[in-house]
Amino acid sequence: MRLLLLGNEAIAYGALASGLAVATAYPGTPSTEIVETLVEFRDRFVHWASNEKSAFELAYGAAVAGARSLTAMKHVGLNVAADPLHSAAYTGVEGGFVIVAADDPWMHSSQNEQDTRWYGVQAYVPVLEPSDPLEAYKYVKLAFDLSEKLRHPVILRSVTRVSHVRAPVEVEPPAPPKWGRFTRDVKRFNLVPANARELRKALVEKWEKIAELSADFITVEGSGDVFIVTTGVAYNYVKEALSRLRLDATVVKLGMSVPVPRSLRNLVGGEAVVVEEGDPVVEVQLRSLGVATRGKLDGYFPRYGELDTGKTALGLSKALGLPYSPPQPPKPPIEPTPRPPSLCPGCPHMATFYILRLATAGLSPVWSGDIGCYSLGINLGQQDLITHMGSSVGLGAGIAVAGKQFVVATVGDSTFYHAVIPQLIDVASKSIPLLIVVMDNAYTAMTGGQPSPSRAIPVEKITEALGLPTFVIDPVEVKKSVEVVKKAVEIVKSGRPAVVVSRRPCALVAVRKARRAGLQLPRYQVDPGRCTGCGLCYNLLRCSAIYRWPDGKAYVDPALCVGCGVCAEVCPFNAFKPEGRREAWLELWQQA
């Protein structure tokens, strides 16, 4: 079967063909579609975990018991799972265990650029690096076999331009899942110092063996005395750059980029140009083998951003002293106007931010934000810090104890379960004054709407168990909610923490469900006779279905409005009028 698959889908199909039994993940761009694809296969154990550490541990445990397992995450997610990753290398596994980490060079949807391959170096875990979806499919199978042969975890490193590239891939049918049974081995699986010391020695020896095996993953193409060592997606740019430069070179492609084999030194004759996506990970390893390299370390290729054919051709020409003039694109006729991503029309976060602004008027709070759709509150000036999953309550608490500022920590439900509960325990046990707002939309919405644990384990059950005063609001009821939030604000002003749970499912998910159910959504329109052009709806509420017409009045784009009715609650002049009824829709929406 030949399918036009995303790299992530190819990884999923490769895992199925390898007899995958257990798959876990926490969603994160660009890794999400791997487990999203696997969820459909009911004969395996597939789980969206509360965070990457938990996901990692579940899959690691399954592999320890001999099952073939996979865990998938984005680069920064592997930081969360870094603790068990290092232990996994010490104990090894019984069944094949593949860790897929998807890097995001140039941060299309991430807070930093990070090269997962360093984790391979640091944790002594080999890294395979496919160059495209076809190879991604093939390499998953190789990774399972290698992992089982070595009884060692294996990292499959992807990048955005492998994970989110579609290519024709030949797919085999799934193989039956390979489950396992735990066999007791106390010296191996108990990392107390006496055992860990022995395992550490064994690990270092094993690493030498793995480095030799790494040579099996090398492919050599072309000819000529110029040696180009490359890996992963960079290989593709090298291929096209060579033909553009009309250059004959020997291209040495590393399928396993960590560790590199010692034999590489002889292969390239002690000198090579290195082209890789991300950090100079291969280059540093080559230098440690005594190879004279030209690559990122000396600035021939950029140390940030993504490669492309142009940058690769330019870098090669500089490194090799060849003439090259890059194409000169035409100038645009006018300056392009920015169009930043924004909250969807009717997004409950939009109303929650508005409510928070009214309820904290005059306090000029510090908005301690977090990772998720509500990060887009940055457009509203209501996200002052966003550094990593869980930063809202974590950093917010630090700011609150540092001075006398009023802090509002905004966090989504998925992030709440992922990274905020331990911080809340600290906030509660020290009674740190902080207004914690959990925007519970029941989904991990930013990555396309994976379910969060919010229905099964309501947020307020947890916060109340911690002794935190908790208020629940429905953000589409703007006026009522402002009064409730003010009560929470008073508690924080008196020097104690308080929690507001703002509950309404993601509008995107709800609209999809309504369409499927054949429900006609109400729509709102502006009565130009009543609208005074005060701008409250388009400047402060900022619903992205509402435009400012050139005369200053508001206009609702009927193709975008989802009929939440928040604008009607907000407008002081009663200018918004619904077409159709709202009750049934709000009801279905709350159940979405």
């Binding site: 036009l4 995303l6 761009t29 660009p30 999400t32 579609e33 299309h108 949807s109 495209d132 331009r161 492998v162 989110h164 590239v165 579609r166 290519a167 024709p168 997606v233 290989y235 593709n236 740019y237 291929k239 096209e240 993504e306 492309d308 054919t309 142009g310 940058k311 890059p326 194409p327 000169q328 694109p329 035409p330 100038k331 645009p332 006729p333 006018i334 392009p336 106007t337 920015p338 169009r339 930043p340 991503p341 924004s342 909250l343 969807c344 759709c373 887009l376 457009n379 930013m446 990555t447 396309g448 900022r542 992205s544 435009y547 400012r548 017409w549 050139p550 193709a559």
Partner: protein, 176 residues
């Protein structure tokens, strides 16, 4: 040699689908294909940009600045933003539609006029209008696809449903 196309528009317009259709059509002609999609942030009403490359063999999944044979825009402001991808002397295909970016109003005449006077070979396709005639602006990507099929010499991809087939045919007839 591969043909490089940058497809742009606004989140929600079906940019990804249009790119995938071009990919399917080229695949059915026996070409190798790479489609570099964007996911996550850029889908929330922001700018969306997808790269499609097809040819006998394709390696690089993305198109560099100054490397596109075609820029296909489902929206005119995004056409301006993607201008930098055009190879000197190459072709811009733009849907006659403006989705106003936040905080600024740009007139359609000004925008399309400036594109036409830019010196780049520009096709302005009334895809949104045709789609509305067919019942929904949601068909504009299929109308554009029909137009492009004539320009690129590609067949109708097999996965279109009846309404999109009709939109495709209407788009193809717009090409003269």
């Amino acid at each position: 040699m591969a043909t490089s196309i940058v497809v742009v528009g606004v989140g929600g317009q079906g940019v990804l689908t249009l790119a995938r259709w071009i990919g399917e059509a080229s695949l059915s002609e026996g070409y190798d294909v790479r489609i570099a999609e964007v996911h996550g942030m850029s889908q929330r009403g922001g700018s969306v940009e997808v790269h499609v490359r097809f040819g006998k063999v394709v390696y690089a999944p993305i198109v560099e600045e100054g490397g596109a044979d075609y820029v296909v825009a489902l929206e005119a402001v995004e056409a301006v933003r993607a201008f930098k991808y055009l190879k000197p002397g190459e072709v811009l295909v733009v849907n006659k539609r403006v989705i106003q970016p936040p905080g600024r109003w740009i007139s359609e005449e000004e925008l399309l006029g400036s594109l036409q006077r830019s010196g780049v070979k520009t096709y302005i396709v009334p895809a949104a209008d045709v789609a509305r005639e067919l019942g929904s602006v949601l068909y504009e990507n299929a109308v554009m696809l029909g137009f492009l099929s004539q320009l690129l010499g590609l067949p109708m991809p097999p996965s279109l449903d009846d309404r999109n087939r009709e939109a495709f045919r209407r788009g193809a007839r717009l090409f003269v």
